[in-house]
Subunit: 425 residues, 3 copies
C-alpha cells in the first residue's frame, strides 16, 4: 500500500493530538504509553522535580484538570476544547476580574487573527489564556470569571522516553525528538511519531550500530537526560539527529552541527543532495535540542532534520499548526529520509579494490563486449566507483563521484559479489 | 618556417595512417619501426601472448592479410580500402551467408550515415564489418561471401615502444600515448606522433629530469607495462602525462588525476591557465590509460592532455576522424603545450631572495629612475615575483602571482643574473 | 562635538601641508617636531647619510632654500609657491638654458592639464621642474634662467619618528605611516596625522599590548628602521598596520599581507566586513611600506589600511591631492577604523562557557520569560555567541557568527558579568 508507514504515522498523530502536553505532566506520560504500544521496548524514565541538572532545576510537575473563562455563566474560552487556550504552566486561579485586568493575560496574533497562539511561562509565575485576535476584539467591559484548575507538584516528575536497540557494535546512533508540545502537529507531533516508526523499523531488523532513541521534553528534558546519561554513551557516539518540524510538505532541510564538519553532517548532506528541493541552515539558526547536544561540555555534533523550520512557517506556534499541515505522503517521505540516512551509515564500509589496475570485467559479464561511444550512466558510475575504491569509505566515494550513496552501496555490493572489491569496517 | 614541427608531425601521421593497428600485431611493430627512424633510441619491447598481467592475460597476436564481403563476385566491402571496415580481433571466416545473418555482424552509425564506425571485440570471439549507414540501407536479399583471413597466434606478442632519456637526476617524467588505433587521427595517431617529436626534442638537449616515453596499446598494453616495469620507476616518478585525442583544433584540455592534487596537475593547470580557450575535466570523465596509472595499487597521478576529448567530438571512433581533423598548426600547438609543461617542470627551482627587504634596484638599471604613476606590467610582475621569492618554487610563484610560469622563469633568471635571487632545486 | 578628532587631524594637516618634505631634510624634522607637540613622548631618531642598510645606503641629506625658473626677470615657476614644482632631490643649478634643453627637465600630466605632478629622483643625479600641461604648452622659445639652491649633505641624516607605548604585555602592535611627501594630502599627510592622534589616544589609556608607532620616510626610511631595530621587536610582533592614502572619502580598503593568513589580516577583515562599501586588495597590489615589512627575511605580516589606494585615484601624485581631498568627517572615520581594529585586538580574549548545556537565563533576566516567535536580533546574537563560547577567541566568534566584533565584545562582557562566561588571554 502506498505511504503505508505514512498512514500509520498519521494515525498515531491523530491519536496523540488532543492530549495536553507540556515539559512535565500526565499528558506526556500518556503520550509515551500510547507510543509504547507500538514499540514495547520503550522505557519511560522519570526524574524528580527539584533535581539539579547542570545550571537548571527540574520544575514542579504541572497538571490541569480544567481551565476556562466564563462570562455571564457561559464558558467563552475553554481549555477542554483546545488545550492551546491555556498558557502552559499557568498558576491556579479562581476569581472575577475586569476586562482591563484580563487583557494583561490574553495572548493573540494580530497577523493571524483566527489562530490561537501557543504560549508558555515555565519559569516565571504567571497565568494566561491564548485566543484568536478576532475573539479578543469583540470582548466587552464585563466581569470575567477565571478558573484554572492547575496543580504544581514539587514531588512530581519529568518523563522521558528512551529506547535502546543493541546492534553488533556498541557504538551508537542517537535520534531524538520532543514530546512537550500540546495540540501542535508539525512542531512537534511529527517528530516523536516518525521516531516511533523508525524505532519499530530498527527493532525489526539486524543492525550494525546500536541506537539510542529519545523522546524528550524540549530543553529541560534534554538537559536532564544529558546530565544523567551523557557519560554512559558519549564515547560510543557515531552520529546523531534531532527531528523537529519534520512533518509538513516543506523542502527537506538540515540544520548543520556547530562545527559543520561531523559525520552526522556528512551523511545528512549526502542524502539531502539527492533531493530536488532542499535547504541547509547553519547552526546559527539552531532552535531546538540540537542547541544542548552541540553545547560546550557536551560536544555531540547532532544535526537537526526538518522540513519547514521553526519560525520559518507561518503556522508556527499557533493552532494553525494542526492536523491539516501534515499528511501520510509528507510523513512517509520524512520517514524515508531518516531511514535512508541510517541505511547509508549502516552500509558505510571502507572499500578496497582487489585488483591492481582495472579488473578484467569482460569475463564477468559486467562490461560491454563490443565497445561503443555511448557509455551508459550505470557503467560510468560503476567505473567511477571502482576508481575511488582505494580504501575510501562509501560515503567518501559518494561525495567525490556525486552518486547517490544508496546507489554506491548497490554498485559496491555487485562488485563485491564478483570478487572485485573487498569491504572493511 | 612556421609550424615546422607541426608539419613534421603531420607528415608522420600521413605515413602511419594506412597501417592497420590493434592491441597486437605486425601493424603495431611497423608503426614503432617507422617511429624508430626518427628516434633511434626507441626500444621495441615484446610481451608474449598468454602472459598473466595483474587481472588480465595478454591475448593472442592478431594479424589480418585480407578481409572482404563479396556479392556476385564483386567486393562491396574491403579491408584493404579502409581497415576500419573490419572489426578488430574478428575471427577468420570464409563462407556464404544470407542478408539476415550478415546484418547481425554489420555495424554502422545512424547519426553519421556516411561514416564507417570503429569497433573491436578483443575479448569475446566474434567477427564483424563496419559500414556506413547509407551503404547498409541499400543491401538486398542476396548471398554474401564473407572472407576474413585473420590469424590468432597464441605464441605471438604484444609490442610496446619505450624510450628512456637520462637526465641529470634519476627522477623521471613519464609521458605516454597509444598505438592501438587503426586509421584514426585525433584518437589517436596524434598522440604517438607528437610524442615522437617530444622524444626527439628531449634527446637533443640536456635535461635535469630523466624521461620515460611510452607507446602503448591502450589498456592491455598499459597494464602489461605497469605489471612488468612499475617497480623499476615508481619511486622515481615526479609527474606524468598521457596524450590522447591531442591533435585537432579543440580547446586545450586536461583530465585531472584521481585526487586532483598532484604535481602533474599543478603544472598542467598553470600552462592551461595561459590558454584563452580551455577545459578542465575531473577524473570522473577519464577514459584512456590515465585510468590504469591512477588505479589503486599503481597510484601514479598521471594527467591526460587532450584537445577534443574522447566521446566529446562528433567524429570520435569513426572514419571521420581522418587526416582532415588535424593540421600542422593544431599539431604544432599541441606539441608546444606539452613542451612548455616540460620546460616549466625542468625550470621549477626554489627561489630565494639574496637581500633582506627589497634590493636596491636603481643601481642595477632594473628600475625606473624617475617615479611615475603608470607602472608597466613587467615591472609590477618583477616586483611581485620578488615578493614571493622567499623559498617558494617558481610554480608556486606563478600560482600566486598569476603570471605565466615561463614568464616567471624569465624574470627569475634576469634577477639571478643581477645577483638578487638564488635558485635551488 | 561631531568629528572632534577629525577636526583636530584636519588642522594638523593644514599646518603640515606647506612644509617641503622628502626622504631626508629639515622639512621632515620640522614635521616631526610639530607632531611631537601633540605627542611629547615621540622620539626623533637620526640615521647618518652613507650608512649601509641591507642592500641600500642612506643618501645625502637634501635641503632646498629656493628654486625657480625665470624668464625676462620674472619667476614663472617658483618652488616657494608650491614645493611640488621642484623634482625631489634635484641637483643645484644656476644657468641659462634654451627652451629645448628646459623641456627635457619639465614634467607634466597631459591627462590632468591643470595639475602639477609630483616627481622624485632620489638615486639618479638629475634636476627637474613639475608644471601643469597648460603652462607647458604656452612656453615660447626664450632664454630661461634655472635656479635651484639645493644642498646635498653627505654628513646629514635621515629622520624617523618613533613612539613606543608600554602596555601590560611586552607583545606589540606596530602601526606605521610615511612622512616623505611634500604638499600632498591623501598620499600622504593623512597617514602620519591620523597616526599622531592614534598615538595620543593610546597614550591616554591603559593598554594590554605595547605599541610601536612609526613615522617613516617611505622605503629607505622603513628599510633603515628595520635594519636597525628589527631584532628589538621581531619576536614581540602580534599585528601590524601601515596607513597609506587613508584620508579621502574612498571606500574602506585593505591590502592583505603577503600570505593573507595573519592575525593582522583577520582583525582588519572583521572590521572591514562591518563597512557598507569596502575593498580588499591582494598583496599583488601592494605599493607602500607593507612591501618591506612583508619581504623575505623580515616576514612581518603588515596589512595596509587605505581608502583610495595609491594609483587608484585620479589625483594621485599631483597637486590635486590637496587640502580639498580630505575633510574632518573622512579623517574621523579613518581614525575610528584603526581605533576599532585596535579595540578588537585589545579585547580579543578566549571565551569559555561556565555551564554545561545552556545556562538557565530566565533567572538572570537575560531571557524573555514568555516565549514568542519573534526572537529579537540581540537575543539571537547572544545565543549564537554563547554556542561558540567553547574556548574560541572573540575574533573567531565574530568570524563564525558574522556579528560585529565590537558587538561580540559587548555581549561577552554582559555574559561575563552574569557569571556565565569566563575570559582568558
Amino acid at each position: 500500500m502506498k505511504n503505508q508507514i505514512g498512514n500509520n504515522i498519521y494515525s498515531l498523530i491523530k491519536k496523540l493530538y488532543p492530549i495536553n502536553r507540556s515539559i512535565t505532566g500526565d499528558g506526556n506520560r500518556l503520550t509515551l504509553n500510547i507510543i509504547k504500544k507500538i514499540i514495547p521496548e520503550l522505557k519511560i524514565l522519570e526524574y524528580k522535580s527539584g533535581t539539579k541538572v547542570f545550571d537548571w532545576e527540574i520544575p514542579p510537575e504541572w497538571n490541569v484538570s480544567d481551565a476556562y473563562i466564563e462570562v455571564e455563566n457561559k464558558r467563552i474560552v475553554d481549555f477542554k476544547k483546545n488545550n492551546l487556550h491555556l498558557m502552559s504552566y499557568s498558576q491556579p486561579m479562581n476569581k472575577y476580574i475586569s476586562l482591563n485586568e484580563l487583557k494583561q493575560h490574553l495572548f493573540f496574533y494580530k497577523d493571524m487573527p483566527d489562530a490561537i497562539p501557543y504560549k508558555t511561562s515555565y519559569y516565571k509565575k504567571n497565568w494566561g489564556f491564548c485566543v484568536s485576535y478576532n475573539f479578543f476584539k469583540k470582548l466587552k467591559k464585563k466581569k470575567y470569571k477565571i478558573v484554572i484548575n492547575s496543580k504544581f507538584n514539587n514531588r512530581g516528575c519529568l518523563s522521558i522516553g528512551e529506547m535502546l536497540i543493541k546492534g553488533k557494535s556498541k557504538n551508537e546512533i542517537l535520534i531524538s525528538s520532543n514530546i512537550c508540545h500540546p495540540s501542535l502537529v508539525n512542531n512537534e507531533l511529527s517528530g516523536p511519531t516518525i521516531l516511533t516508526f523508525i524505532a519499530k523499523h530498527l527493532s525489526e531488523k539486524k543492525n550494525f550500530y546500536s541506537y539510542r532513541l529519545l523522546f524528550l521534553p524540549e530543553t529541560i528534558g534534554c538537559i536532564t537526560y544529558l546530565n544523567k546519561k551523557l557519560k554512559e554513551f558519549k564515547n560510543k557516539f557515531i552520529a546523531g539527529y534531532h527531528l523537529t518540524c519534520f512533518g509538513d510538505n516543506g523542502d527537506f532541510s538540515i540544520v548543520n552541527s556547530k562545527n559543520n564538519n561531523s559525520y552526522s553532517d556528512k551523511i545528512a548532506e549526502l542524502m539531502l543532495q539527492t533531493k530536488k528541493n532542499k535547504k541547509k541552515y547553519s547552526f546559527l539558526e539552531c532552535g531546538s535540542d540540537e542547541r544542548q547536544f552541540n553545547y560546550a561540555g557536551i560536544n555531540l555534533p547532532v544535526v537537526a532534520l526538518t522540513r519547514s523550520l521553526y519560525g520559518k512557517f507561518k503556522e508556527y506556534h499557533s493552532s494553525n499548526d494542526n492536523l491539516s499541515i501534515a499528511n501520510p505522503k509528507s510523513l512517509n517521505d520524512s520517514f524515508n529520509f531518516i531511514k535512508d540516512i541510517l541505511e547509508v551509515i549502516e552500509g558505510d564500509y571502507k572499500v578496497f579494490s582487489k585488483t591492481i589496475c582495472e579488473p578484467f570485467l569482460s569475463k564477468k559479464n559486467l562490461y560491454r563486449s563490443i565497445n561503443n561511444n555511448k557509455t551508459t550512466i550505470d557503467e560510468r558510475n560503476m567505473f567511477n566507483v571502482l576508481y575511488y575504491s582505494d580504501g575510501r569509505s562509501i560515503s567518501d566515494i559518494s561525495l567525490i563521484t556525486k552518486i547517490n550513496p544508496l546507489e554506491v552501496i548497490k554498485i559496491v555490493n555487485l562488485l563485491k559479489e564478483n570478487n572485485i572489491l573487498l569491504l572493511k569496517r
